[in-house]
């Protein structure tokens, strides 16, 4: 569910929870066990972080049989973007990010 923006920022303030979102971005539908393994954390600890992310609306879940699958729900992040960044500014910001990435890759090669 989509909660207040406070909940979204609070959820994102923790590096472990951001890492969980990274894993879900790469592995949509991951189960609790699949999330706990690469993070080298107990299932209980991961479960607590997931509850915070779910409460903020950043993670959506689906059941298939007894398996609970987790997905990154991007809608609250889009809402943040819509609030402060107009479409025009978003394009310019994206180009700057691409420029930085290109420059940093060059640096790596050098």
């Amino acid at each position: 569910m989509l909660a207040a923006m406070d909940d979204v920022f609070r959820a994102l303030a923790d590096p472990t929870r951001r890492k969980l979102l990274d894993v879900l971005h790469a592995e949509p539908g991951a189960t609790l066990a699949e999330l706990a393994e690469p993070l080298d954390m107990s299932r209980q600890a991961v479960s607590k972080h997931l509850a915070v992310l779910e409460g903020a609306g950043l993670v959506a879940c689906r059941w298939s049989g007894r398996e609970k699958h987790h997905y990154l729900n991007p809608v609250p992040l889009v809402a943040i973007q819509e609030r402060w960044i107009s479409k025009f500014a978003a394009n310019r910001a994206r180009r700057l990010l691409e420029l930085r990435r290109a420059l940093e890759e060059k640096e790596d090669e050098a």
């Binding site: 569910m1 989509l2 949509p28 539908g29 609306g57 809608v75 889009v78």
Partner: protein, 141 residues
């Protein structure tokens, strides 16, 4: 095992009936779904198409389940590029849950994308815009 589904959830301050209407009527979809008009009899096994202004279809599918105003399931084939049109049909599920009076959760799940990787890559940001646009349109009404 990972399932490359896309799941979007959004809370909308409106009734299930109004949200259902926004999903299933062409006058509504034109406002938020890339200017397309949805066309269907909404009977199981029937066709559904999202039509551009020139009458061509941007996407099409078959109605798998239709339970107004709670649940709509269709297959999905993107037609805006030949690359996508050649991929096997995927599936889109619209679910509406009433959380309180005039407050609903809309969940859109696009799955069966295992054999449609190009579709998955292209529709992700599109769904975000559609769903945010749907909420804006419904809440403004």
């Amino acid at each position: 095992m990972s399932d490359p589904a896309l799941v979007f959830e959004i809370e909308i301050k409106s009734s299930p009936e109004r949200i259902w209407q926004a999903i299933t009527s062409p006058d509504w979809t034109r406002r938020y779904l890339f200017d397309t008009a949805v066309r269907s009899e909404w009977s199981r096994g029937g066709k559904v198409a999202w039509e551009n202004a020139d009458g061509s279809a941007a996407a099409q599918g078959e109605v798998l389940e239709c339970d107004p105003p709670w649940r709509l399931v269709t297959t999905w084939t993107s037609l805006w590029s030949p690359d996508l049109a050649h991929e096997p049909p995927s599936r889109v599920t619209w679910e509406i849950e009433e959380r309180a009076e005039k407050r609903c959760l809309l969940r859109v799940t696009h799955d069966r994308l295992e054999r449609a990787p190009k579709t998955r890559t292209q529709v992700g940001s599109g769904w975000q815009r559609i769903i945010d646009g749907l909420r804006t349109a419904v809440e403004a009404a």
